[in-house]
């Protein structure tokens, strides 16, 4: 059964810490990319931290998640370490996937992260399959599928929600509605009301402020508990926002969203600032505590980046290893 690990001060601070870890990770990843030290393309999770953290802090290590192309946040939130993550982003042998997956496929199966996915919506089946395993083998685990508003366009999602509902799987569909899929507003891509798409299958659907880590966490704790009792599946729409462009190269964004809108979210709805202020107001932590915590995380990240930059690539002999499992 899920411990309500985030209802005490330790848990609250841990949520703050995890959000800062994600933000810090992304700031470093962004720098690596901008300084041409990181190959390929990547998608920043900054702004959406309360979603990944609020949900993952309600999960056990043995619960499963699947993630998306915008997957660093989920990975950190589910327990991954900076060093192996940066190594992966740089294609190094010590990365979580030995450098073979990269940003869009980072996985951390030890902590129950079945992987980012470069096919939008592509992991909806995988997450639901993990829930099937949990139910059939009676492990008590719950499975969370993270996906964006854009993934609502993929028919696969409706197919698996139907089966999850028919079979009462311990499944939570977490739709991170950050208002855009690439350069298009959700209103141009999704007709109707989002929650209705789950309710159509008899699935209980919720909507929550995805910038409020406490609200996200409380709801998720409740749903996880209910899912473990066989009352799932559930669907949650999380209203959130991505601060950066769709990917790191998406610089000129004014043709699809205004600078004012961006500024408003960053200034008034930042999940970390707001939660930090609350922690201070509630006297759970002092401003100095939080500063120290931020400082420590920045140092950790820097150390991990430095390590990763100097770490070796996989040997060329690995190119045809892991095509087939023994």
């Amino acid at each position: 059964m899920a411990k309500k690990k985030s209802s005490n001060a330790d848990g609250l601070l841990r949520m703050y810490e995890q959000m800062v870890r994600i933000r810090t990770f992304e700031d470093n990843a962004n720098q690596l990319y901008l300084s041409a030290k990181m190959p390929g393309l990547t998608h920043m999770y900054s702004g959406q931290e309360a979603v990944a953290v609020g949900i993952c802090e309600a999960l056990e290590k043995t619960d499963h998640i699947t993630s998306t192309h915008r997957g660093h946040g989920h990975c950190v939130a589910k327990g991954a370490k900076f060093k192996e993550m940066f190594c992966e982003l740089l294609g190094k042998a010590e990365g979580y996937c030995r450098g073979k997956g990269g940003s869009m496929h980072i996985a951390d199966q030890e902590n129950g992260n079945l992987g980012a996915n470069a096919i939008v919506g592509g992991s909806a089946g995988i997450a639901t399959g993990a829930a099937l395993t949990a139910k059939r083998l009676g492990t008590g685990a719950v499975s969370v599928c993270f996906f964006g508003d854009g993934a609502l366009g993929q028919g696969l999602l409706y197919e698996v929600m139907n089966m999850a509902a028919l079979w009462r799987l311990p499944m939570i569909y977490a739709c991170e509605n950050n208002l855009y899929g690439e350069y298009t507003h959700v209103s141009e891509m999704a007709a109707g009301e989002i929650g209705g798409r789950a309710r159509a299958f008899g699935i209980e659907a919720f909507k929550v402020d995805g910038q409020d880590v406490l609200a996200v966490n409380r709801l998720t704790q409740d749903l996880v508990q209910r899912a473990r009792k066989g009352e799932g599946p559930f669907f949650v729409e999380l209203a959130t926002y991505r601060y950066h462009g769709h990917h790191v190269g998406d610089i000129n964004r004014t043709y699809y969203r205004s600078k004012e809108e961006e500024a408003d979210w960053k200034k008034n709805r930042d999940p970390i600032t707001n939660f930090g202020d609350w922690l201070i107001a509630e006297k759970i932590a002092s401003a100095a505590d939080l500063d120290a915590l931020n400082e420590g995380i920045r140092a950790n990240a820097k150390a991990a980046v430095d390590y990763a930059l100097n770490a070796p690539y996989p040997p060329s002999s690995e190119v045809d290893a892991h095509v087939y499992a023994a």
Binding site: Y96, I119, G125, A131, L132, L137, E159
Partner: protein, 331 residues
């Protein structure tokens, strides 16, 4: 030895494996009470219950994806895809997800699942229920591809597929479901990547896949009547492909022909012919012949459909030309 149908062989393979491994679950449309429209799985739900023999909605991409996730987390799902033609619906889940997961995770995640489906025309089922699409999945690294040519092969290869730690696509010939063959009562498996030499010969090597093994054997009989001795080889799996056995045979016979029920162009005959040409070039007395299905959608009309698939007569006729040194398809 007792004889059972290919359908029974498949049923036995699944039942035996499910008895010894509780992580096996079977997903598909009308697999439970109905036992599939082909009645291949009859009796399984009675023994293993609806939690392990799971009727799904008509959602091939969905349940294929669910199988991938179940396989990644400790189960061994068998997916029943009613017609091979529906492969097109599950390509993303099988080729972008299942096939690549082990590699993309640096060897950390496994996807031990089996996709059971079928191939074969001449059932008057028209263009969307008659295709032989094994070449498509054979092109995608990370998948293994098995093609049983008899009840015996079906049981042995399916058991191996279920125990394999990788996604395996297995194509049964839907016209052979009622064909009987000797199958031992005792447990056995058939290793992947080991071709089966069904008939020894010296004049030409006939490499035949799945449904075409019987055609090749019949052609070999016709050729024998002409004094031509054909060696017949069934690769059993096209990924991995036992080109060693095939090439060895061709070095002996100096001639080869590859027969397959998939479309000829950009299909399986091309790869096997190319490997033979590469590896036995200086032994070949004639170009390697290829005979696949015609490059046309499968027509419904019986008057047309039968023209599209290789027959023993055509195989024999082409083989005769090759053996007699009369060039074919040479401009």
């Amino acid at each position: 030895m007792r004889e059972i149908t290919l359908s029974q062989a498949v049923n036995e393979a699944i039942a035996e494996e499910m008895r010894s491994d509780p992580t096996i679950v079977l997903l598909g449309e009308d697999v439970a009470e109905a036992g599939t429209p082909f009645k291949i799985l009859s009796g399984l739900v009675e023994e293993f219950g609806p939690d392990r023999i799971v009727d799904t909605p008509i959602s091939e991409p969905g349940f294929a994806g669910i199988a991938v996730g179940a396989a990644m987390t400790g189960m061994r799902p068998i997916v029943d895809l009613m017609f091979g033609d529906f492969l097109f619906l599950v390509m993303d889940q099988i080729c972008n997800q299942a096939a690549k997961t082990h590699y993309m995770s640096g060897g950390k995640l496994n996807v031990p699942m089996v996709l059971r489906t079928n191939l074969g025309a001449t059932r008057r089922s028209a263009a969307q229920h008659s295709q032989s699409l094994h070449a498509l999945v054979a092109h995608i690294p990370g998948l293994k591809v098995a093609l049983p040519s008899s009840a015996y092969e079906a049981k042995g290869l399916l058991k191996t597929a279920i125990r394999d730690n990788n996604p395996v696509v297995i194509f049964e010939d839907k016209l052979m479901y009622q064909d009987k063959a000797p199958v031992p009562e005792e447990e056995y498996t058939i290793a992947f990547g080991e071709a089966n030499v069904l008939r020894q010969g010296n004049d030409i090597t006939l490499v035949a896949i799945s449904s075409m093994v019987q055609v090749a054997l019949a052609a070999a009989d016709l050729l024998a009547a002409d004094g031509i001795s054909a060696e017949v080889i069934d690769p059993r799996t096209i990924v991995p492909l036992d080109d060693k056995t095939i090439v060895q045979s061709v070095k002996k016979t100096s001639r080869a022909m590859v027969i397959d029920e998939g479309h000829q162009s950009y299909g399986v005959t091309a790869e096997i012919a190319a490997r033979i040409s590469e590896q036995a070039f200086y032994h070949l007395d004639a170009p390697v012949g290829r005979l696949g299905a015609m490059d046309v959608p499968v027509p419904f009309s019986p008057a047309l459909e039968d023209l599209t698939v290789p027959t023993a007569e055509v195989v024999a006729q082409r083989a005769r030309l090759a053996v007699r040194g009369e060039l074919f398809r040479v401009a």
